[in-house]
Amino acid sequence: MELFEQLKEKSLTNWFKLNSSKWVRIGGGTSGQAMGSYKLYNKSKELIQNNFTDVNLSMVSAIGLMYLEPIVDITMPDGTRVYYGNVTLDEIEKILKQHLTKNKPIIERAFAANEKAANMWGIQNINDMPNISRQKKIATRNFGVTDPLDINHYIARGGYSALSSAIFEKSPEFIVDEVKNSGLRGRGGAAFPAGVKWSFLAPSKEPIKYVLCNCEEGDPGAFNDKGIIENDPHTLVEGLILNGYATNSSNGYIFIRQGHEIPINAAKKAISDAYELGLLGKNILGSEFSFDMEVSLTGDSYVAGEETALMEAIEGKRSTPRYKPPFPAAQGLWKKPTNINNVKTLSYVPEIVRKGSEWFKSIGTETTSGTAIVCLSGHIKYPGMYEIPMGMTIREVLDYIGGGISEGKSIKVLQAGGPLNGLLGEEAFDTMIDFDAMSAAGASIGSGGIIVGNEKTNIVDLLRNLIAFNQFESCGKCFPCRLGNTHMLEILDRMCQNQSNSNDLNLIQRIGSSMKSGSLCGHGQLGYNPILSALKYFRTEIESAVNGKINLTGVNGDGKMILPTRTRP
């Protein structure tokens, strides 16, 4: 306890110093990289080194407003903070020099400011932007604020105090009960209550027990798991340690797909810094509790995200799902008792422990407490990553958060929750975002991805894209999934080539139901979902494609489509 208080005091002193200095923050992350924010950072670094002695520069986490990237924001000692969006390499010198030397922003280039600066210069207050004000930031509370690679920033913002208070003042059983009572449900797709899952693992007296964090995140359209890790890795690390403490486990793994260097490096750095400060390893913070953690990388395989396939991958094998039972809590990784949760699920835990389960329960809906972290992309004006309270309707998210359509006349279709979930049409846009309402509508929050398609989107063409993914990613273990997906893709491709016939609709439905009943894991069981839901909302369009009346001229390359079919050997 004392050890932690010392850490905290040191972090706070530095944090206050930084906040009252001239501080330039540039948002990073994968999406930022795609828009050149790392180049912008390097150039700014050089400019600042050559021209200033009193300016701090940090590459901070992305704030989530991805349509404005790269984002640069400048805090001045007088407490003003101004945000610039879509900053180019050509103008950064001018912005930095004018703002930092004259203490006056280039007003017409700023998109927002904190209250003080907003009042001073007539810039929009950042908290008046609907896609900021309507968010409820819990897991993403540090986004846009801290340097994700600096553990002291995290501690200064209240980080690791939940861990410290848990291991010195609260019993493991208490933490499990808190998580149970909070109503936190798993954010990896199945929506299973996290506390209940933990209570399966907790009683086992095995000396070696594992808690795993799933960041396979293969769902196209979803980037919030990698988003949390690259933008605030410590909130996940703290969550996973708390998971370990609550269930009396010895080891934790963060499981990430290879190739995503930014989140991988952030996770590794966070873990090694936590070891250095005594927050991981033997006798954490001088307590009786010991816990180790490492990053486990996987090769490219979507099914590796399925919980038992993931264990196979950590063991270094082909990531194909196991038969259940035995369930992971009895026999998981290396046959030891194991728990597995998604990144988002675990990232809520520090704040739940710190602020109490009743607080968490007060946010969201009756059946789904807390927030949803949505990733908006496609034909939407403000694509980005936003944390919204559960219970908002889809339409509110599209209008207030997403700012409506980007090009075209109207939003025709949404792909929500990844390719094992569904398509939604306009009739469903008043659905409330919570687990139960969404699945009743035929879709799912799933991974949190919402892909927006305008009126020009061809449903059969989109379905072909989704089923091509499912085909490509079938692990091949169960033949209904392996062959069924291939067969469905052939039919959809036939439809796109105007070579389909009226039997095809029956055929595709039959394949879908065999896949559902004959597959071991969700990949085969749910792989027909996009088509099933599309039949609900876009039946006429699909029927006319079956009858040879599809016209793909002008659609995404005139209906041409790579079909990277590959059946795993």
Partner: protein
Amino acid sequence: MPENSNLLEKIKHSLESQEQPTVTILSSLLSIQDNLHYIPSEGISETAKFCGKSTNEVWSVASFYTNFRFTPPGDNVVDVCWGPTCHLLGAQIIIDNLQKTLEIDGEGESKDGKITLKYNTCLGACAQAPCIAIDHYIHGKQDKNTANKIINEIRNK
């Protein structure tokens, strides 16, 4: 042959320099591919020896994950995303164009052998779609012209 012993040394170094506590067939293969950009057949047999498994077991893992390749790639690897967001925003047009520029059908090496083209199911920067990546570094908001420009720049370097 000196070249071959050099390769073997690099493989052994890849296997032995793994830093994480848990070392497996998969982690070993990832490490080899990280260093050599492909898995030579010696990589399979050395991994088998190193992990105390049969080459059969190693092959079963190597052939499963789609990121592994068994011949050397070009000097630069270009990933093009064909995920649904990129698809809706024009990925097919970009892919088609890149294939023409590089004179290839499907995935693989350009005629001059300098560039490898790969399909990617989602690069994780969907908010900036359509995306391509050069050696894992992502470029967002692409169209056929900007993507071609990037490719020509790296090709002429």
